[in-house]
């Protein structure tokens, strides 16, 4: 592995402003991990470009020295996607945070990759538009990070994930070359390289700018909170709603452990005795909404809901969503550490997978809460542990793996929106054959033949036994 020497460091300082190069160990400690806190590794240097030209110059300099790098947005990822693995340089896009162009007539925004997700919607909200992908971390996470991970959020049930909302990209290849991909519409000219870069977890270079689609705000919403005696009944209700032909904009579930944590943190009036709640959001024309909401209320009641509450106003709706989107933060009060998983199963397998998770929780003697994008079959089991106890860390990792394996056995996926990162790289071979992985590697090499952009991610090394039970580089606490 090549290292960053003084000469290269001087070059980088010349390209960036003095505050654009961070190399002091104490300052770098902040960047040792993302939301996947099980593994930690500090980069040798952190680079903070302000422009595409600077970023291109940095990458060209690193290229000449054969140095690998890891891109980073806000570090809110949950799979260790920006954990440096044999990558001495970390490049953070947080200073590239301008919204370059707002074009409401054509419903699009051009934003630099360091722009915070929610800032896009905030910039157009007053005119009745929004940017659809809404990950729970949207107050902090960046557009660049969303593109790398192909992020979703509660409203993907109706609107799809990030890849459905990106028209064009400016990408800096690992050798510093700047390329423009995509165009004015979904009609691509040639191969859909935008589609290849979105979700590639930063292994194809660094996105510096994106043209994003905007959506028109719906006329109105109805947000329902339905409480159930147990998780089984709640997931049954999910199937009943889908079977009725009504597709909500969002269909979210929280189990008892999460409900109690959220209620303790935010006091939003969730029923503490419930085994699970569903947040069901319908949106569209006011003319149809009341009838749809009544029908959904009837369906969930018939499916066994103990209570159904309709948010009376925007304030109550906002409160429910605050509870949902900050659920993970609330869990932080229950244990020193938690690891959020991201499995997917066919919707109809939700009852089965929740039973598996309950069983795993018992056998590994760990508390596991569940937050689900139930409408998509996307589950986020939250495994609570204490990182000071190595045995708990090991059990937390094993428990997560067992859950993901079960997802795949049910015809599901390792990840619905968080990405493979380092967390799930060991399980890729459960989902994909060696031929699949070889072709994916060939695709990666089109952009990054030397594998210098975020090395060690997405594709397991052939023959390498991936064993992450012990953190790669344990940082003293």
């Amino acid at each position: 592995m090549s290292l960053i020497d003084r000469k290269l460091l001087d070059q980088l300082r010349e390209i960036l402003e003095p505050d654009g190069v961070v190399s002091r160990a104490t300052e770098l400690k902040v960047y040792e991990c993302d939301g996947w806190t099980v593994e930690k590794s500090v980069p040798d240097v952190l680079l903070l470009p302000r422009t595409t030209a600077q970023l291109s110059a940095i990458l060209a300099a690193l290229h000449r020295s054969g140095i690998a790098f890891v891109p980073r947005g806000a570090g809110t990822g949950l799979s260790g996607g920006c954990l440096p693995l044999n990558a001495p340089a970390m490049i953070c896009t947080s200073k590239m945070n301008r919204i370059v162009e707002i074009d409401l007539e054509n419903r699009r925004v051009v934003a630099e990759s360091g722009v915070v997700n929610l800032h896009v919607t905030n910039a157009v909200k007053s005119k009745g538009y929004f940017y659809a992908p809404d990950p729970s971390s949207q107050v902090a996470c960046t557009i660049g990070g969303n593109i790398a991970e192909n992020s979703g959020g509660p409203h993907t049930l109706k609107y799809g994930v990030t890849t459905n909302h990106v028209l064009a990209l400016e990408l800096v290849l690992p050798d510093g070359e700047i390329v423009e991909l995509g165009g004015a519409t979904d009609e691509r000219c040639g191969y859909d390289l935008v589609g290849a870069v979105v979700g590639a977890e930063g292994t194809t270079g660094i996105v510096t700018r994106a043209t994003l689609k905007l959506m028109r705000e719906p006329e109105n919403h109805r947000t329902l909170l339905a409480a159930f005696p147990d998780a089984d009944t709640a997931t049954h209700a999910v199937s009943m709603i889908i079977a009725s032909g009504i597709v909500p904009a969002a269909l979210e579930m929280m189990d008892q452990l999460i409900i109690r944590a959220v209620e303790e943190a935010f006091q939003v009036g969730l029923p503490l005795d419930a085994g699970a709640v569903l947040i069901i959001e319908l949106e569209g024309l006011e003319a149809g909404l009341t009838a749809y909401a009544d029908e959904v209320a009837k369906i969930v009641s018939a499916a066994g809901a103990s209570s159904v509450r309709l948010a009376r106003d925007e304030a109550e709706r906002a409160l429910l969503w605050k509870a949902r989107k900050r659920a993970l933060g609330a869990v932080g009060r229950l244990a020193p550490n938690y690891a959020t998983q991201d499995g997917v199963v066919p919707r109809t397998c939700l009852p089965r997978i929740l039973r598996v998770i309950a069983d795993v929780s018992r056998r590994y003697d760990l508390r596991i809460g569940n937050v689900l994008h139930a409408g998509d079959g996307n589950l986020h089991p939250v495994v609570l542990y204490d990182e000071r106890d190595p045995d708990q860390v090991r059990r937390a990792i094993d428990a997560g793996r067992e859950i993901l394996k079960a997802c795949i056995e049910m015809g599901g996926s390792l990840t619905g929106e968080h990405g493979i990162g380092v967390e799930k790289i060991g399980e890729m071979a459960l989902m994909f054959s060696p031929d699949d992985l070889r072709v994916m590697t060939e695709l990666r090499h089109v952009f990054d033949p030397m594998e210098r952009s975020n090395p060690g991610k997405v594709i397991p090394q052939p023959g390498a036994c991936v064993e992450v039970a012990a953190p790669r580089r344990q940082v003293p606490i």
């Binding site: 060209a60 007539e105 054509n106 419903r107 192909n150 459905n164 070359e177 700047i178 991909l181 165009g183 004015a184 519409t185 979904d186 009609e187 691509r188 000219c189 040639g190 191969y191 859909d192 390289l193 935008v194 589609g195 290849a196 979105v198 979700g199 590639a200 889908i242 079977a243 032909g245 597709v247 024309l285 003319a287 149809g288 997917v344 199963v345 066919p346 919707r347 109809t348 998509d376 079959g377 015809g411 996926s413 390792l414 990840t415 619905g416 990405g419 493979i420 799930k424 989902m431 994909f432 031929d435 699949d436 072709v439 994916m440 060939e442 695709l443 089109v446 952009f447 033949p449 594709i459």
Partner: protein
């Protein structure tokens, strides 16, 4: 050039005479027979003749793997064909071997509660939708004449229709794929769940790749509920600009199903007065339908008529099936939506078009035969109109006599094209998959 490996090696130059000789040789026919069974190697019919010199009809993925292996060894160019309309419209010369997917056309699984469907690539969109309609669901993509468009063609040629406004395109709905790639390997990407970001997105790569990266054998799509009711408002305008202005107002006001404008020549079936027709599709519950009908009447000052129920659906199907493939010259233009009216105007007043007004995409055509020189000028004008509006243009079909002088695809910018060439070289190192008719000669 700064990068060592950026330029793709040139594809092998297959000498046509050699291929013809090889194909007509009895030994090759015997080999094809031995792979797919006798009776399943045949001469091309109708459109197929412009896409391929000979057609084979495999009935298993293993047979496709065998065919790819043989073609790689012998350097025989091949391409998947459905009804062969997409490739027949754009290939300058046929490939040696057309792989018909007619015997790989099974619906493998429909999971109504998961809202997903898995099917082999040879099933048509029409057949698929007929099979799942009983469960109240559909694959909401509506290419022209869906009974002729196989899933393979839908994906490979990126067909879409009026519903793209509300439902997106196959790009948005395709969640899993299997294809036979180089080395005769069966490769899969994605999965059977509606949300999945594991691994690189091979679905996007295959979409719109015109069979140049491999042969798609199976696809998994998200499906959606069929709306309770559908109505179609048809509103005539003397001027295109008025029709587009009305369209933009409506698109801002309502979540419409489709919003299209037909030029007078194409609108004849609906209106005898030679006017531009704005066709506004809307759907939902009876309450939503009533509300939208009222809003539309209100915004358009009660002009035009609203067709409800079956009458609306029948007219929508006529709109959907507006066919640009038989034209002497036809193209699809794609620009930012607000610039579409101006771009179409710049294409000239001799064209007929169907514009998806809310999406910025339109199909345009000239029905009459053009001389090769005229065709070159016309396409240059169309292309200039698209580029002036920051958009793109690709030809859908051109009469065989004028094909050799025309560029069917825009040329991507240099950086993007270099990546595309490397992608092609990586996925098709021998150069057998539908060579020579895609962007930049790929």
């Amino acid at each position: 050039m700064r990068r060592g490996r950026r330029t793709a090696p040139p594809g092998p130059n297959l000498v046509e005479a050699e291929i013809v000789a090889a194909l007509t040789s009895s030994s090759l026919e015997n080999r094809l027979d031995s792979i797919v069974g006798s009776g399943h190697v045949r001469a091309p019919r109708d459109f197929e003749a412009r896409a391929a010199d000979a057609i084979v009809e495999p009935h298993s993925v293993d047979q496709i793997c065998e065919l790819v292996r043989m073609c790689e060894v012998d350097r025989i160019p091949l391409a998947p064909v459905g009804a062969a309309r997409s490739l027949a419209g754009i290939r300058r010369s046929p490939v040696a071997l057309g792989i018909s997917m007619a015997r790989l056309a099974r619906l493998i699984a429909h999971e109504p509660h998961d809202m997903t469907v898995v099917a082999e690539a040879g099933i048509t969109v029409g057949e698929l939708n007929a099979a799942i309609a009983g469960a109240g669901q559909r694959l909401p993509v509506d290419p022209c004449k869906p009974n002729l468009i196989t899933l393979g063609s839908l994906i490979g040629a990126a067909h879409s229709g009026p519903l793209r406004l509300s439902e997106g395109t196959s790009r948005d709905l395709l969640i899993g794929i299997r294809f036979v790639g180089h080395g005769a390997n069966l490769v899969h990407g994605g999965g059977r769940v509606v949300k999945n970001v594991a691994g690189y997105d091979l679905m996007k790569l295959m979409g719109g790749s015109f069979g140049t990266l491999g042969i798609v054998t199976e696809a998994t799509f998200k499906v959606r509920p069929i709306p309770n009711d559908y109505s179609l408002a048809i509103v005539p305008f003397a001027l295109a600009s008025e029709a587009f202005a009305a369209a933009y107002i409506l698109n801002d006001a309502l979540p419409l199903s489709n919003l299209d404008i037909l030029s007078p020549g194409l609108g004849r079936r609906f209106d005898s007065d030679h006017r531009f027709l704005l066709m506004i599709g809307f759907s939902g519950s009876p309450l939503e339908i009533d509300y939208q009908a009222e809003r539309i009447r209100d915004l358009l000052r009660a002009r035009g008529e609203i067709l409800e129920g079956d009458a609306g659906l029948r007219s929508y199907e006529l709109l959907r099936d507006t066919d640009f493939y038989p034209a002497a010259l036809s193209a699809q233009i794609a620009v930012p939506p607000a610039l579409l009216a101006r771009a179409l105007e710049a294409c000239g007043n001799d064209i007929e078009y169907r514009a998806h007004a809310g999406s910025g995409v339109a199909q345009i055509m000239l029905a009459d035969q053009q001389s090769p020189d005229d065709a070159v000028h016309i396409v240059a004008r169309w292309r200039q109109a698209a580029h002036a509006a920051r958009g793109t243009l690709r030809l859908l079909a051109a009469a065989p006599e004028i094909r050799s002088s025309l560029e069917f695809f825009d040329t991507p910018n240099e950086g993007a094209l270099a990546l595309m060439r490397r992608l092609k070289a990586a996925f098709d190192p021998v150069g057998i998959f539908n060579p020579g008719c895609f962007v930049g000669g790929i």
